[in-house]
Amino acid sequence: MSRAVRFVPLLVLLLFVGFVTWRLLVPNDEKIRSRLTGQPVPAFTLAPATGGIAGLSSKDLASGRPRLLNVFASWCVPCIAEAPLLDELKRSGVHIDAIAVRDRPEDVAAFLANHGNPFERIGSDPESRVQLSLGSSGVPESFIVDGKGIIRYQHMGPIEPGDLPAIRREWEAAK
């Protein structure tokens, strides 16, 4: 065996250690984005999630004007943190609809009473069916849907103050 070949295993080891160190320092982004961005919202019809607010169907999202679709749940803690920002978006003219995942009418009502109601419609998705059909992998998530019902943008996790400029930009672009 030549001398150079002897060092090949060491080189392989060093490459491996280097790769592991790099991935520890720069962790992989583990968000699984929906593949439906750029495609129409899948057809669905959801019953109202609580009294006094209409349910939601995919037709409501193709209304000729863009809409923000928020996937939330009353049992979701980050959704509470997000609530004031949704209110702020609503005040600045963003139309917001919602899907309540695995929720009860009385729990949704209590959530809205405690944290405000920026939603025009809320559909109830008791078995996460519509959430799965949208390619959403958790709560909260928000989609911007344009007037033709095409998904233009997906925001994963709670909307934080720093996310507002990007969301407003996408909202304008969807007009």
Binding site: M1, E30, I32, R33, S34, R35, L36, A73, W75, V77, V101, R102, D103, R104, P126, E127, S128, R129, Q131, L132, S133, L134, G135, S137, G138
Partner: protein, 133 residues
């Protein structure tokens, strides 16, 4: 006082990360037809949980995994082919959601690596044996 606080802390409910709705029908219940159940089970073992990444939905306790199991079983009970259900999920979440990667240029290294490593091993062994002999 301290002791009381400690006891209170022990009694406190953990922060809610899950809904308290019961699991969907067929999330934790087998299909009556054993052949359909076997097909559903095989598929569930090859679908990745979206919440606890690294587990299959068959193994995961997450609620979303339960809802995915319910969906798989209900669709297979309705006569859909497992590959159609898999393709439906892949069209939403990408190949990531399936534990069976397709053979395509992107994944060639993945499929070739075992053969390549076996080849290298055989090559190294050949030298070893020759020297002994």
């Amino acid at each position: 006082m301290k002791r009381w606080l400690l006891i209170l802390a022990l009694l406190a409910a953990p922060a809610l990360a899950d809904s308290d709705l019961p699991a969907a029908r067929y999330a934790n219940e087998q299909l009556p037809d054993p052949r359909q159940e076997a097909a559903a089970k095989a598929l569930m073992e090859e679908l990745r949980c979206l919440v606890c990444q690294g587990q299959s939905i068959a193994d995961s306790d997450a609620e979303l995994a339960g809802d995915m199991r319910a969906m798989v079983r209900q669709r297979i009970a309705a006569g859909e082919k497992p590959e159609v259900v898999r393709a439906w999920l892949v069209s939403r979440y990408g190949d990531w959601v399936s534990y069976r990667p397709p053979v395509e240029p992107m994944t060639w290294p993945l499929w070739a690596a075992p053969l390549l490593l076996l080849g290298i091993g055989a090559f190294l062994l050949r030298h070893r044996f020759r020297r002994r002999g």
